[in-house]
Symmetry: C2
Subunit: 244 residues, 2 copies
């Protein structure tokens, strides 16, 4: 019953329930990887029929927030966006090696946030923020050079961490050290040419085409967490879509 206490009563019940479940996930009551209560329990707690619970859960499965497993239960999906960037790039030149690329932090600084990142993060332009420069490697070959901006108030723990302790994945670090969980991301792809510095880092000729991916990473409640711009060699880029 109390499950829907804070929900907007003008919405359909299944929508109210959807929002209530998202809240539980956002506040961490139900954490990534955990099973949520059974459909019968949710129905009792929310004071609705099981069919209505099913519709709310259907929505969240479609949104990628929950996973259902027949006979076992319904689980909060563990997001793995760090991997998914690489659906844009051929790794190891067509090998089916699905190994995770390595990452190296090239630099960390507190600097004045550029306008585009500030707008995406909801900061005032020029306000200080944390900047990370990062290189991602496929074996020995440079694959992506990344410029990452984070709001300094919520990511202070990262400033105390030694660069070699960052590891290959950032989002698990955000979650463990700063309590920020990345659930979705908006990306914009464009094509540019490499400047001298980027060319050197990526092992390309200056002026070689590069694919640019600008990403705003967001939490379950869609608040912006991180802005980044990644560049990689255009000749290794490949992206598949189905359109309707």
């Amino acid at each position: 019953m109390s499950l829907l206490a804070a929900a907007d009563p003008r919405l359909a019940r299944y929508q109210q329930l959807r929002d209530a479940i998202v809240s539980k996930v956002v506040e961490g009551t139900w954490a990534a990887g955990d099973a949520i209560p059974t459909e019968a329990e949710l129905a009792r707690d929310a004071g609705v029929a099981v069919g209505t619970v099913r519709k709310a859960v259907d929505l969240l499965v479609a949104e990628g927030v929950l996973d259902r497993v027949q006979g076992r239960g319904t689980f909060v999906r563990r997001p793995s966006l760090d991997r998914s960037l690489f659906r844009f790039f051929r790794l190891s030149d067509g090998d089916d090696v699905r190994s995770l690329p390595r990452a190296r932090i090239l630099g960390r600084a507190r600097a004045s946030c550029p306008p585009q990142a500030a707008a995406a993060l909801g900061l005032r332009p020029g306000k200080p923020a944390i900047r990370l420069d990062r290189l991602r490697l496929d074996g020995e070959r440079p694959l992506l050079v990344e410029e990452i901006w984070l709001p300094s108030d919520r990511f202070a723990p990262l400033e105390a961490l030694a660069l070699h302790e960052f590891g290959d994945l950032l989002y698990p670090l955000y979650e463990r050290l700063c309590g920020e969980v990345v659930a979705v991301a908006d990306e914009t792809l464009t094509v540019d040419v490499a400047d001298a510095g980027q060319a050197r880092t990526l092992g390309l000729e200056p002026g070689a085409p590069v694919v640019v991916i600008e990403r705003v990473a967001r939490g379950y409640d869609r608040h912006p967490i991180e802005w980044r711009r990644s560049r990689g060699p255009a000749d290794r880029f490949r992206y598949r879509v189905e359109i309707r």
Copy 2:
């Protein structure tokens, strides 16, 4: 009742009904833009409950085959893939002009089908097929140069058509003259550099980066209809996705 006569009885009923509705759309009994029977009628004809009909229709709405309109009915969605290519490209340099690009057919020939197109179309490589060369223009500026391959048996009517009669959109032509309805398409995006001929057609320097879009267009039942490869200036390319 007869609605599910040809369906696979091992599937769940809502899946059988989904397939049956797709069949009606494929065979043209229910054409694009038409309303399909009401949920109550479908339930009666299929011998299932209305809730089961709703689930089947939910699926097809999610797949983009049907549109529901509250109070009016459920309609076969009119696909407009010809437009959707342009979500990849900025038109008129950031203007919000949503005008449809013009198209000009540069050439038509019956030629031996290249391996990649043949594989996509399910033809034997080297078998004769129809090739169209086409230029798409944003106002006066060349936007895309396209190489299009069609199976000659099903597209014979296009060989009799004067080039200036093709108009700006091909898919309505396929439907009207050849009875082929394009419902979905698989696309692969890569980046290449323009060769001399492409550069001339697009008004670029040879060696300038271009975005390459390879598309297999398919019918409601997923059978391949057309293969095409489009190239456009990389500096006008922009693509947005949300990932999870």
